[in-house]
């Protein structure tokens, strides 16, 4: 499998950033150690120097006092003991740090030896009691030697400001070097990571934009313009998948269109056929009905009662069939008529339907209540068909209740507006709700309630042609409610 580039780049960025973050403390530690090293060097050189210097001076003073005390006490043993003190002083000198000039130190040792010998000799002389003229000369000489030793100590074992400054300068340089070292790692690494991140982010955004545009085109159904798939990264992969998907969608779309066209053609043929059949059926039916009526009117008195009854039955059958054919024709027209959408005053339509029904059967005391201001969007004649059927049904079935009553009220959903028609009639069993809207399906007995069974099928076809929904709710013996929702193309207001 191909290694996806984008992932590798993101991994590289993360690795670099992590390396940078990890390297920084390491470099910090190293450079701090460097600086500390410089300071420690100062400490290792100057602190011992100060210590040895101060100590050596103190020991020289002590040694001098030891000579004086030995002489004061006239104690030869104490005088001999000064040798140990001198040895200690010499040992101390050997601890002098490397900073001290070895030649200076050697000179100091020699001068110390000379002074010690001189002081020892002078002390021995002093034991004898008299400070002769010659001894005063030797004392002066000894004192000069003492001064030389003191000067040597001063010169070689005390803090030299120039040296100290040089030490600090060295430590400072080390610190500065550490800073530069840190910066020289941090700055390029940071620039590298940031540049890489920016480049990757740009590429990512560009690829995502391309991908989004591609998906938008696919969404619009432009399957012929594939998403550009350059490079070898994941987004290019995604683009290639999108293109493949677009190809499949295109094939499906074409197939669907073909199927649809076929279906439409078949449907048209079927409708045209059923229209022709219905239309052609009407003329013979009119003949049957008309001539049956003529026989009844012209020769009724010559026919026995039973014959007249048969003829009346023939006429009723013919009339029923004519109604059926009319309904079928209406259903067919509903399917074929062009839609002219407009805002329709549903309340007014419903009242007109109710008035017509009341006129048709004035003996029925049905109470119809229509909510004011009901508005829906649709084709007015077709909505009239819907209301004719629904209110007609309600009127028909409400007849059996104690107080027959039909109610037309508004119904709203986001993007939809509609109405519901409710009666308090016989209702229906919800188990059969699915069959309600199929043509020629009747839940009730045709004997009890007149009708062709095409009305609700017509309602459903109209509503579906509007892109709306229609459904029924009911309970046996407790009335039924039919709801219609039609889409709104314009905002209410």
């Amino acid at each position: 499998m191909r290694q996806p580039t984008l992932r590798r780049r993101l991994q590289l960025i993360i690795a670099l950033a992590a390396a940078m973050l990890l390297a920084m403390p390491v470099v910090d530690v190293l450079s701090v150690r460097e600086v500390n090293g410089g300071v420690e060097a100062l400490e290792h050189e100057y602190v011992p120097l100060l210590r040895v210097g101060a100590d050596a001076q103190a020991r020289l003073v002590a040694l001098t006092r030891a000579f004086q005390e030995a002489v004061a006490a006239q104690d030869p043993e104490a005088l001999e003991a000064t040798a140990a003190q001198k040895a200690e002083l010499e040992a101390l000198l050997s601890e002098a740090p490397a900073l001290v000039d070895r030649a200076d130190l050697a000179l100091l040792r020699r001068h110390l030896d000379e002074w010690y010998a001189s002081a020892f000799g002078v002390s021995q002389e002093l034991f004898s009691g008299v400070v002769g003229e010659e001894l005063t000369v030797r004392i002066a000489d000894m004192q000069e030697k003492h001064r030389v030793v003191e000067r040597d100590l001063e010169r070689s074992l005390t803090l030299d400001p120039a040296r100290l400054a040089a030490g600090f300068e060295r430590a400072r340089r080390v610190g500065l070097y550490g800073l530069w070292a840190r910066m020289s790692i941090r700055v390029p690494l940071t620039i590298l990571v940031v540049a890489l991140a920016i480049a990757t982010a740009r590429r990512l955004v560009r690829s995502l934009d391309t991908l989004r545009d591609g998906f938008e085109r696919i969404g619009r159904g432009e399957f012929d313009r594939p998403v550009p798939a350059e490079g070898r990264d994941e987004l290019a992969d995604a683009a290639r998948h999108a293109n493949r998907m677009a190809g499949n969608l295109k094939a499906l779309d074409a197939e669907l269109r073909r199927g649809n066209a076929e279906l439409e053609r078949t449907n048209r043929e079927l409708e045209s056929f059923s229209y022709s059949v219905s239309h052609d059926l009407r003329a013979p039916l009119r003949s049957v009905d008309g001539f049956s009526q003529a026989v009844l009117e012209d020769y009724g008195d010559r026919l026995p009662e039973q014959g007249q009854d048969y003829l009346r039955r023939v006429r009723a059958g013919a009339q029923r069939m004519a109604a059926l054919v009319d309904d079928l024709l209406r259903l067919s027209r509903v399917g074929r008529a062009e839609l002219h959408r407009a805002q329709v005053d549903v309340s007014a339509l419903a009242r007109a339907v109710a008035e017509e029904l009341a006129r048709g059967s004035p003996e029925r005391p049905v109470e119809v209540e229509v909510e004011d201001g009901l508005v829906a969007e649709g084709d007015a004649p077709l909505l009239r068909v819907v209301l004719d059927n629904l209110i007609g049904n309600a009127w028909k079935f409400a007849g059996r209740g104690a107080r027959p009553r039909v109610e037309v009220a508004g119904l709203h959903e986001p993007g939809f507006a509609g109405f519901r028609v409710r009666d308090n009639g016989v209702g229906f069993d919800m188990a059969h709700a699915g069959r309600l809207f199929a043509p020629f399906q009747r839940l009730d007995s045709a004997r009890d309630f007149p009708g062709t069974g095409i009305g609700l099928a017509t309602v459903q076809r109209v509503v579906h042609r509007h892109g709306g929904r229609v459904w029924a709710q009911g309970e046996a013996g407790r009335g039924a409610e039919f709801s219609v929702l039609l889409p709104k193309t314009k905002d209410e207001g």
Binding site: F67, Q68, V71, V131, G132, T136, Q143
Partner: protein
């Protein structure tokens, strides 16, 4: 220079001693009558007299230059000698041991070198006669022989 009562007394004593000497021949008088020491300088030294404090400062080397000019070269006597004992006690106001101790400190600390201690009056006188900047002291009985004694006030 004012003459103090002490000096007048010493002058009287000197006159008395001279009278004795004239009467009984030149000889040493008793310790009671003779001064314990003479402070001697080179005959050319213009110093007329010194008081005890100035003398002490010279012998402890606190004063190192003559008023007229030149370095002062004090010279001491042996620490065992009587004249040293008297001089240290009367002039320096301390015992010989204390003075020596102080000098030893000065020796080893390098502050100063003590005056040379000479073994006898004769050696002191000899030293003084040789060195115009020298100052020393000799016992009262010593013959000055060319050195000049200066009165101590």
């Amino acid at each position: 220079m004012d003459i103090e009562p002490g000096e007048r007394r010493r002058t009287r004593r000197a006159a008395l001693a001279l009278a004795f000497a004239l009467a009984f021949g030149w000889r040493h008088g008793s310790g009671e009558e003779m001064p314990a020491y003479h402070v001697v300088v080179h005959p050319e030294n213009p110093v007329a007299s010194l008081d005890r404090r100035a003398l002490a400062r010279i012998f402890l080397k606190n004063t190192t230059r003559w008023e007229h000019d030149g370095e002062i070269h004090p010279v001491d006597q042996s620490p065992q000698s009587e004249v040293r004992r008297r001089f240290d006690e009367e002039v320096l106001g301390r015992s010989v041991a204390a003075v020596r101790n102080a000098w030893q400190q000065a020796i080893f600390s390098g502050r100063d070198v003590p005056p040379p201690e000479l073994g006898s009056d004769a050696m002191v006188l000899d030293y003084v006669r040789r060195d115009p900047q020298a100052i020393g002291y000799v016992s009262g009985k010593a013959e000055l022989r060319g050195a000049r004694a200066i009165p101590v006030r």
